[in-house]
Symmetry: C2
Subunit: 190 residues, 2 copies
DNA sequence: CAGCTGCATTAATCTAGATTAAGAATTCTA
DNA sequence: TAGAATTCTTAATCTAGATTAATGCAGCTG
């Protein structure tokens, strides 16, 4: 029995019978192997039993931004589990590793099982929040203030109207002066 | 029936009887009212039914860093729910608001109920991850590279040993050159 | 062993955004 | 409605960290 699934069964959420339809491969992976590429569909989840794995993005300039390291006992996933959704993160092995790999369709199957158990709201809400935080970290590490501001306007158009500029600046991680400068730059470019 | 609890019952996780011991206040709050102060124990959860709320930190220089805005339908909490844990975030109202406020001891009670239902692992793991991401965002917004590096060493001492410098730089959101400079600065101060 | 490739360090510039300061516009509030 | 208090903007500096570039070190590999 593989450890992630064992936990679920122990939780009493799923019975061994329900689990049996889901396959989890335990695989040895060599250092340097790329497990997942951003932009490609079929994002998976990786549970690290041994070794060290990293998840990262690559920006337009080709620069890598590491979102997380995962060593023994950690789980890596970008939680992009809608069908055919492109992965957000690259994942590769920093050390030779022993991983449990959960394929996307199995994750979707798992989610469906959860739904029949009526557990989903809690878990899906939390995963949603994780996705939001994940995106924010990536933007803070890789994007300049203008890009982050444009993204904010697009993501929270209603909040922009209801909040003073200085608070938006404070959310973006810059001074009000910097945001003001950027806004006038945007107007000039109209 | 208040909406958050209604969701839980609808989920079939808790019965109306189990819910009955938990009190949730629905409260009108005036613009500007501070709901929670960082450092003080008894962090609560706030569900926004109407209005607009923000969660933020204040750094040593007195500068505010907004972690999130929450409008209708959003939940605000820093997920610091160990008994007597000091809150990490300030929370206040940007607009007159109608909130459901869940007190810390009720959250702890809720968690205990979840445990008896054996749902906890999933949810607690996800909340843990949220706490980690939250801390990272706050540090990215408010702390300089040296501080973030020191925090990384403290939080992941094992990873430091197993990963090349350039990857730590990439995780911190700076160039390898900047991290190298900081390290030599640390040595000079010994 | 020599040559190649990736990593770390140092140093010289450069720049996005911080800081400081001051004026104009807007919104409380008495 | 006047005065006070915020907020926004603009402009002049300043600085942390980016960029560029050069050097020294491993580790591999043929």
């Amino acid at each position: 029995m593989k450890s992630i699934l064992k936990k679920l069964i122990t939780n009493g959420i799923l019975s061994p019978h329900e689990i049996s339809s889901i396959q989890i491969k335990e695989t040895k992976i060599n250092k340097g192997t790329i497990l997942q590429r951003a932009g490609e569909p079929g994002g998976r989840a990786f549970y690290v039993k041994e070794g060290l794995v990293r998840a990262y993005t690559i920006d337009e300039k080709g620069k890598e931004h590491i979102f997380m390291f995962a060593s023994e006992g950690w789980m890596v996933s970008d939680f992009e589990w809608r069908e055919n959704a492109p992965a957000l993160l690259f994942v590769d092995c920093i050390e030779d590793s022993l991983l449990e790999i959960i394929e996307q369709n199995d994750i979707i199957k798992l989610n469906r099982l959860f739904e029949t158990k009526q557990v989903p709201n809690q878990i899906n809400q939390l995963m949603n929040r994780i996705r939001v935080l994940q995106k924010r970290i990536i933007l803070l590490m890789s994007a300049d203030t203008l890009t982050r501001y444009e993204d904010f306007i697009e993501t929270y158009p209603d909040i922009v109207q209801r909040v003073p500029q200085r608070m938006i600046a404070s959310y973006l991680g810059v001074t009000p002066e910097a945001l003001s400068k950027i806004k006038s730059k945007m107007l000039k470019k109209h």
